[in-house]
């Protein structure tokens, strides 16, 4: 009660103190605004930087995709039949003729045989432990582990 009275006395009866209070509040508000502004600016700058980095990454990805496409085209050109044929001839390969091919029938082998699905033998499923741990249970476990590590009075003594 006395404290309340002191506050009333101090702030109501002393106008100069009210002015100081106002100045303090304004100053405080100013600093709070600056801090909020600074935080906002920092955040915005961070977002902008991330945005620029993302832009760069998108650009880089697009360039890499174009480059891949270019390389795919180049590979296809290098694998074109006339080029492969010329290269094979350079290496000494010659065209096969009907007479130069020998077919060896493999007894019992049928390339177009009916596909029979492999028979799957059902294996008995192993018992999988059920996960039913609760927080309290875990706490109890930890406590038990902790207490089991506590040396008994007789341990560690001769």
């Amino acid at each position: 009660m006395a404290l309340t009275n002191w506050f009333e006395h101090t702030f109501k009866r002393r106008p100069w103190r009210t002015q100081r209070q106002a100045i303090a509040l304004v100053t405080l508000s100013f600093f709070v605004a600056i801090i909020i502004g600074a935080l906002y600016l920092a955040q915005a700058a961070n977002v902008s930087t991330t945005g620029r980095q993302l832009e760069d990454l998108i650009l880089q990805r697009n360039q890499l995709e174009q480059s891949n496409e270019q390389i795919r085209g180049e590979i296809a050109r290098l694998q074109s039949v006339p080029r492969l044929r010329d290269r094979a001839r350079e290496l000494g390969f010659v065209d096969a003729t009907v007479g130069s091919i020998e077919y060896l029938p493999v007894l019992g082998y049928n390339p177009d045989r009916d596909e029979r699905p492999a028979i799957v033998i059902q294996q008995p499923e192993a018992d999988v432990p059920v996960y039913d741990e609760t927080f309290l249970g875990w706490l109890q476990q930890q406590w038990d582990a902790f207490t089991s590590q506590q040396p008994t009075s007789s341990e560690g003594q001769p």
Binding site: N62, E69, G73, I75, V81, V98, Y103, P111
Partner: protein, 585 residues
Amino acid sequence: MQQQQQIQEEMFKRRLPVVIFGLLIVSIFLLGRMVSFQFQYQWAPEVINYLEGLRNSGYSQTLRLAAARGTIYDRGLQALAVNTLEYRVGISPNLVSDPRQVATQLAALLNLDELDTFEKLSTNEPYVLLAARVSAEIGHQVAELKKDIPGINIEPIARRSYPQGTLAAQVVGFVGGDLEGYYGVEGFYQEQLAGRERDEQVSNIPFDLPVDREEDHGGNIVLTIDRDMQFLAESELQTAIAESGSRSGTILIMNPRNGDILAMASYPSFDPNTYFEVDDASLLINPAISQQYEPGSVMKVLTIASALEKGTITPQDTYVDQGSIEIGGRTIENWDRQAHGVVDMTQILVQSLNVGAATVSLRMGPSDFYSMFRAFGIGRPTGIDLQGEAAGTMYVPGDENWSESNLGANSYGQGVAVTPLQMLTAVSAIANDGLMMQPHVVRQIIDGDIVQTSQPSALGRPISAETAEIVTNMMVAVVRDGLDGNASVPGYTIAGKTGTAEIPSPVGYEPGVSIVSFIGFLPADDPQVSILIKLDRPSGYWGSQVAAPVFRRLAERLVILLKIPPDDVRAALAEQGGVVSEIDR
């Protein structure tokens, strides 16, 4: 004075509610308009778009994202058409500080005249074009140079590239400068390949995170064309044209079981990478599907098959060949102008007798004859998935151009025009137990995770399996007994028929020139491929002498490529229950 003041006050008090009421009404009206403006209840969509555009113009911009065209592959997934980039290189001379040094560097890189380049750089122009199109490799080198030299402008240009060059050019088609597909698969599947350009709103506010501006990719297309077989067909065709002195030609290879076109080669052709350098626009068109010709004697196969199917003849039936026959006031003669006496139906094909074919068609009568030819697809397009297919021409009774003599002439392939594809599709029905399959060149369309695979579909069953087997045996006899081994491959049974057609002109048939052809399939007992060879205006006149040997050479290489063992090996395999089939059906 005081009284007057009181009167004024009273008047003021009386008028004040009126004014307040008036202002209230106006305020409510304005408020109502503001609300309606805000929520745009009654605005037309274009006004809304305009206002939204006005609102967004300061904060965002619209970017048009180009679409990346899909790749075209052969059936073995070898790329036939891909996208590449080229670059347009320009420079702003007013930003160049040392024109001499820059001119030296750029001229060397872009293969330009150094003095010309220096003169261009010495001006005060804001922009000068240095090279309209340079390769990606040079473009990247210029881009490196740009880091040190201000003012260089390098702009990417999307371009379609065909890494296999001229291979299958008339099947694939090409993409023009406007990035639209023309002819072939590029033209027919333009919508599926092209992808979609789209407009994306991009924020100008630096605090907004960028959206992922990924291009829309068109679907990739896998063709039924086999690159190796296509190369084989093209190289054999070029050899044949050179050796026979032909003006042009076509080779088609098809899987008769499912209609897959495995190779479609025509010569002369063009390089789709440099389509703009082609002087003769007809080279861009695929003759295999668009060029009509009178097929000649290969048509006898369809005549005999039709008559057998209708029960007009049996294989054992005979007729007395007197060397000529008159139908509708026109005398029809055999190719050798000789009489052949008593001849059976197989010999009509083996000896390629015009009189025999005309006799059979006469026995059938126009109604049965033309209904069967229609069933074989003569006179209508096959519906292949390529741009520019022709329907062929067949006059039927009732048409102004039809006369009775047509019945005789049509039976041996005169007075009727077909495309090479039509002819092969019809004969492939015989190879496929009478079922005529829809020819097609696209096997799969892959659009992201969606894969559409073309399913074999039948155009119809013009003949029964039994008739097909009889005609196949007759065609085997043609190759075995009628061509002096010109179309035979040792170890393999082949069914086939030659054709020698005169070339019609406005004043009758051109003397001394012909279109020679051969249609066959192999192995005859289990056909895996059907083949058409057609050569225009060779120096030799007869199909049996010019086209049949080309077929033989091609077949010899195809059986190796397709790993088709000789008949005896296949028979040994069949005994074990095995089948050889390299082409997946």
